[in-house]
Amino acid sequence: MEASKNNIIEEVTQGEYKYGFVTDIENDFAPTGLSEDTIRFISAKKNEPEFLLEYRLKAYRHWLTLEEPEWAHLHHPKINYQDIIFYAAPKKKEQLGSLDEVDPELIKTFEKLGISLNEQKMFTGVAVDAVIDSISVTTTFKETLAEKGIIFCSFSEAVKEHPDLVKKYMGSVVPYTDNFFATLNSAVFSDGSFCFIPKGVRCPIELSTYFRINAANTGQFERTLIVAEEDSYVSYMEGCTAPQRDENQLHAAIVEIVALENAEVKYSTVQNWYPGNKEGLGGIYNFVTKRGICKGNNSKISWTQVETGSAITWKYPSVILKGDNSIGEFYSVAVTNNFQQADTGSKMIHIGKNSKSTIISKGISAGKSNNSYRGLVKTTKSAVNARNFSQCDSLLLGDKCGAHTFPYIEVGNKSSVVEHEATTSKISDDQLFYCKQRGIDTESAIGLIVNGYAKEVLNKLPMEFAVEAQKLLSISLEGSVG
């Protein structure tokens, strides 16, 4: 039995990401490297107004003064920023005739995830029907949203159609001076999403980048801005459970959320980008700055993330709790396998009175990966009666991986209550034995146990996302548990 277990472990931990890159995109390339010319090129290409070009240039000039941060528990070869093409507008995807031409392994994964046929076509670039279908779906959604006054479009579109809103809110949460990668993004961002929920509107559907037809190929420097006016509500989903094929090695995205009085924003992410092969070659470097501000009283921002992909994840979704009685939440599951490295966590900055925050983070590391939680909870003097609870658990699968916890707690007044607890352990032999005794094989048992372990977070995902994420976890673990 031991031997077969080991076999499974072997098989599972040695399993490779089976979905290589297939798409071949013709591009309008910007000149390689980063310079003011590159930025002018990008801005001109996108017909941007003057203020945006100015913003980009300001960011670029500031970026020149910055050095790449090294504090994270990540190791990667130095990135040569002059060796990157910062803008590549996708022209048209090579279209496949039918699903038969698609890698059968990929189709299998889609089936496991329960992705519908049309969606499968869309992901794999089979397009025709799917696109028509998705356009019609999208149109329906657009109408529903327009009725309510909700703006949901690409960032470029927003720049043209709603320059005032963009001007007002862009950079208000993540200023261009924020950090190395945010500054880089501010200089060269390609595209992204813009979402505006007017006063008193409760968005009737879960907004997803997926429904936005031009969401595909937003490029490596994505920028998202979500503004929820007074008394509004929106649930926003980014990414999807399907394996993402992406030719860009470096990703530096920004997400900004503004929640005004009584507004609530729920942001869910599932990230499953190419993690590199089992020798640790290739894979996406993902450096993301995500931050929301609870600007008004009684506002609420909630981040939920399931991170299974990318060779390197550097991501700290944060909430600035400025309004009184505001609430910030962070729920995360991060899975790393092989040579993946994740340094992720959250920042909760309490400024408003009675502000509350919750951090639940579940790290799962397997193979030779390293998984770190890094978080900050800070209460300023003004944050009377602030309350935080953080819980960070790590699960180690295999003896060559690492799990680390770096919480920073900074309290500046006497009425705050901040609690942090963290545990690290391996998967329990008793639980495994119990499952196997009842005829559940090791692999399924591990999937089951890990899903149970991550349940607290998965429960926070929007319904259909949750189902997929759960399956995704099992699939990731099929190839990752030891």
Binding site: D399, G402, H404, Y408, V411, K414, S416, A422, S425, K426
Partner: protein
Amino acid sequence: MDTTIKDMDLKSKLISTFHENRELFYKNTPAEISALKDIAIKDFERLGFPHTKLEDWRFTNLANALSHDYSLSIKPEYQEIDIESIFLCEVPDMDTYNVVLLNGWFASKNASLSILSNGTIIGSLAKAMQTYPHLVKEHYGKYANTSKYGLDALNTAFSQDGIFIYVPDNVKVNKPVQIINVTNSEEKLFVQPRNLFIVGKNSELTIVNCDHSLNHNVKFINSLTEVFIGENATLNHYKMQNIDNNSALINSIYFHQSANSNLTTNSITLNGGLMRNNLNIALAGEHSNADLFGIYLIDSNQLVDNCTFVDHIVPNCTSNELYKGIMDDKSRGVFNGGVLVRKDAQKTQAFQSNRNILLSDDATINSKPHLEIYADDVKCSHGATVGQLDPEAMFYMRSRGISEDSARMLLMYAFANEVINKINIEVLRERIDEMVSKRLRGELSICDQCVLQCKDKAPSVFNIDMTKI
């Protein structure tokens, strides 16, 4: 002759002082240690003083403490009179072997090295280097990390004296060794004592270390201690810190634990301007155990920074850490606790806990308990809390007629008591217990702030005529 620093960058001044007085620093040191000094001064030149850009020093800014005109105590101040009789100090009912460091120099009426009947050696490190160079060489400089920490490098380069304790194998030292580290000078002093403790196989030792200052002049103390704990040996280490608010004290200790060894450290910080405790524990032998306890009660503008690092190098070791703090006024507490479980250090159990109470809106706490784990069969947890006194407990007591002040006192006392109870020497525990409750009542006078209880002539203690020394 002291070298006074004026209008000069302290770092470059220190370096030039070192080179100008080379023969002084190299005098009587064995060749191996001289070689360490050579490396250390270069390391210091490269590293300089720690600054807030360094992860471990983010919350503790030395800039202000380093901005003074310090005089370096690079030559011993010879005492002709009995310093212990000036202090007239003793812990009531506590029988100890007493050794005193004055401004970083061994100061005792007794011989600078005393050998007990069981072979234990207690005394001056400078003297020990000459008398027992083989003992010193074996461990000196082996555990501190001069290539990484500027202050370690500085101490290694400059250190000339300190306390040396050697316990041979199979010896149980019957009385605690009490080390009293006193600073007293009319000038702004920069002192760098260096201690080395060696506990042999199957031996047992208790050390009580008191940091104490006698006046309010600005001081910078950069103390470094290396401790080797042999197989199956036990060391209980108590550290009391009660210095004045103008002092900056860096207290770096490196414990190196062999197999089956046992270490208990207890840091009690009741007063001090800027205090940084670097506590490093290397669990280098299997089945060794380390218990780290600490309590800090601070107010006014004080800053206490406890930076602990427990390194689980081999399998089957356990560590348990509990630090508690109460911050009042504009004080700041920093807890920076690291646990590293290295690859293959399986069956490790490491627990870490930091609990804090803030009593004022101007007080702050920066807590960073972190775990780095590279082995899977481990049980590790850490927790940190910041809060106030439990309102329900307060209500319970108020409803039983206990005044608010008394109730608050009682709860704070109970909070601190968890750590105080870990002290194994009864008389010391009682004394500290009393001091903590006095401290919480705000009644702790400067004289009380020491385990040394001065006999009825408290004020005179602060008026030592230093010309006599």
